[in-house]
Symmetry: C2
Subunit: 214 residues, 2 copies
């Protein structure tokens, strides 16, 4: 398998093409780090985009949803054209010039036809991976789904084929003639951080905090 995805018209940015990345490792890392994705599809000719939980197994992106939710119902009919976007914000870029303000970010856009996962084994593996995507190790440390719960849950699969990443990193890019202006310029890094775990009120106080949450 190639180490990179092949750019197509749909995965070539119209702007800042130098920020585009196609190597699989970069794409995978961004998909794996993000807690959520934004799933877009077309309904009655109009765009819809909703946040949802995803995971990745190899070169397949799995998206979790309820069997009764809008996109799952639409996808049941046929392969549904989707665009899935994941975005990690890494910093605020404050330039001397108003128009050079920006954000540091890493994003992935994946397009293609999504299918509903029908095979029970593939579905079980995908749901297992969704739990481990929340926290690695969690899938084996909870009650597995029963038949009724599995029926109420749907999983969409999108093969990672038409995919690109886009990365803006580093410092400000002010024009040379602006460098002596008297404004502060630089980057404020931002990141998603986890606070202390809050146990459920009904939890037996003797239950230890799992290692994957420490």
């Amino acid at each position: 398998m190639d180490t990179a995805y092949h750019p197509t018209p749909r995965t070539t940015p119209t702007r800042y093409r130098d920020r585009a990345r196609y190597d699989r490792e970069t794409v995978h890392r961004i998909l794996d780090e993000s807690l959520i994705c934004h799933l877009a599809y077309v309904k009655d000719g109009l765009p819809v985009v909703l946040p949802t939980i995803h995971t990745r197994i190899g070169e397949t992106l799995y998206i979790h949803g309820s069997s009764g939710s809008g996109p799952m119902l639409a996808a049941r009919l046929a392969g549904m054209p989707v665009c899935v976007t994941v975005t990690l914000v890494d910093g605020l870029v404050l330039a001397r010039a108003a128009m050079h303000h920006s954000m540091n970010y890493r994003s992935v856009v994946a397009v293609g036809a999504a299918r509903i996962v029908e095979d029970p084994d593939e579905k079980a593996q995908a749901l297992h991976a969704v739990l481990n995507h929340i926290r690695p190790g969690r899938a084996d440390d909870c009650r597995p789904p029963d038949a009724r719960e599995l029926a109420a849950t749907a999983v969409l699969a999108l093969d990672l084929d038409e995919v690109s990443a886009k990365i803006r990193e580093g410092g400000v890019s002010d024009d040379a003639e602006d460098l002596t202006l008297p404004y502060w310029a630089g980057v404020v890094p931002v990141r998603l951080t986890a606070g202390a775990a809050v146990p459920d009120a009904d939890l037996d106080p003797a239950t230890p905090l799992p290692s994957y949450l420490r």
Copy 2:
């Protein structure tokens, strides 16, 4: 003006309707807190969703972009149907049952026809607000755009009319019969946090850190 938006078929969730909110104050707060939005539109019948920077003035959502970018070019022709979604992740919800795992989040979905802002005053105000959205106070503490820079920048406007928020908060919701299972259950709060500001290498070391970054 009503204190709430009116639900429509497009802004009524198919699932978890009890999580939907329509009051303007809740919607505004989520839009204002989020650093980015995800803008979806339809191109050649296929969905596209891209991350971008937004701001809000009253009941109008402004979306910043390059004049040459895909959505801006498409919107120039006519009012462009869009769906703009903003999502704040607040926590990982780890239930005893695999299928009750969830996230705490606050999201807003706004749909409608976006227009390119042509009026120079409205455009200037929107760009000013975009800068203050990054950090309140920044817009007046940098070099304003010149005519060439303004021409290279486009602003999309979407009137906030068909809008809903969706909120999942609180603790785990396990079934009663699962409460004595030996698995840890609870919530791990997450939030976007800012690190120490990193000054540009070319910045005069005597330049103080602005108060809005402290």
